[in-house]
Symmetry: C2
């Protein structure tokens, strides 16, 4: 479906947001890019450009059919199949993410958890079995796990990432507030919760926005 142009990183983020609103609508409804813009806060021209990377969507003047658009965005994002996840670090943040990911009709399934705490190993948390990290290569192979989510303390992050890479995982979402290194063939995405909070005072300092 993709053309020769390189797809910007944020396209996936924006389309994912569109998808969230489309999921709340009926499949046979129609929606224009302007309506989608109003719902999501993304400019309509940006939405049309984002969709254009993946081929022809909708009818000019008539907009999109919700069901069809949902299906095509899902396919573009790779959400039309099942993704198996390993969660490394089953502390408070890890358990919060377990809850987030147990929503219905999700493409994502946490198939295994890993934690160094002895009292967690062998138990099930939110229906997910927790293993000792030394079992990672075996479990990840057996359960056909594609991606890892890392929610361990800062000082353990690189070790957790290395274990995932050795185990054959091709994508990692790192929540530890530290820079980790992966080989080129592994996709790494960092989510830094602390800096999400740290940037807010900047917006509160009005003189940073002289034209308001």
């Amino acid at each position: 479906m993709s053309n020769k142009e390189k797809v910007p990183e944020n396209t996936a983020v924006r389309l994912s947001l569109c998808l969230r609103y489309l999921r709340e609508m009926k499949d046979d409804e129609n929606i224009s890019s302007e309506q989608l813009a109003q719902l999501t806060g993304i400019p309509s021209a940006r939405i049309r450009k984002d969709l254009s990377y993946f081929g022809q969507f909708g009818t000019p003047g008539k907009g999109y059919t919700v069901g069809k658009l949902k299906e095509q965005i899902s396919k573009a994002l790779g959400l039309d199949r099942q993704w198996n996840i390993a969660l490394v670090g089953v502390g408070k943040l890890g358990r919060a993410l377990l809850n987030y990911l147990t929503f219905k009709k999700s493409s994502f399934h946490i198939r295994a958890g890993f934690d160094v705490e002895r009292e967690k190993i062998g138990k099930k948390i939110s229906g997910v079995k927790i293993y000792d990290p030394y079992q990672m290569p075996k479990i990840i192979r057996e359960k056909k796990i594609h991606m890892g989510i890392v929610t361990v303390p800062q000082e353990a992050a690189q070790e957790a990432v290395d274990l995932l890479v050795i185990s054959g995982v091709k994508a990692i979402l790192n929540f530890s507030p530290v820079r980790v290194v992966v080989p080129r063939y592994v996709k790494l995405r960092n989510v830094d919760l602390a800096s999400q909070i740290e940037v807010i005072p900047f917006y509160l300092a009005k003189d940073n926005f002289p034209d308001r």
Copy 2:
């Protein structure tokens, strides 16, 4: 310190990342924008441009003094003062954030938690007292709270945000995966953990990157 040019949204995010690395260095060390680029993965020209919004930093050819740069970025980001926070929703994610925010030397202090669960109200969690949401306007005034962090379930998010706004909070960080509405004078930042995960398969689908 700011000039007439509008500061881009992502400048604060990038400077916050730079700050993280500077904090690990000694104050009297020197660092060039190229070294900072290597550490953070941000292009050095971008770093110099980001810094330029806030005045003149460093000496051409010699780079920056770590201590001075840290101080100036902190000031630019508004981190040279104390920010008081209210946490609305003290579930798993809320408690994970409480842990995140108890790091030393932080500019952020969670001064109060709010939750509808009776068994939490009146108790202390990670040293923070939990209140009934109806007490919000009073507590926020008394404790001089500037910003709110919302970690309630989706269906309760708008109500939580409305209560914060009524209580006089000027900035809100929303972790609920739903779009909420605030008046123009309130700064809202959404952190959508689910979509952070949802965009990963896109990167795994290699044909989205024809030039790799």
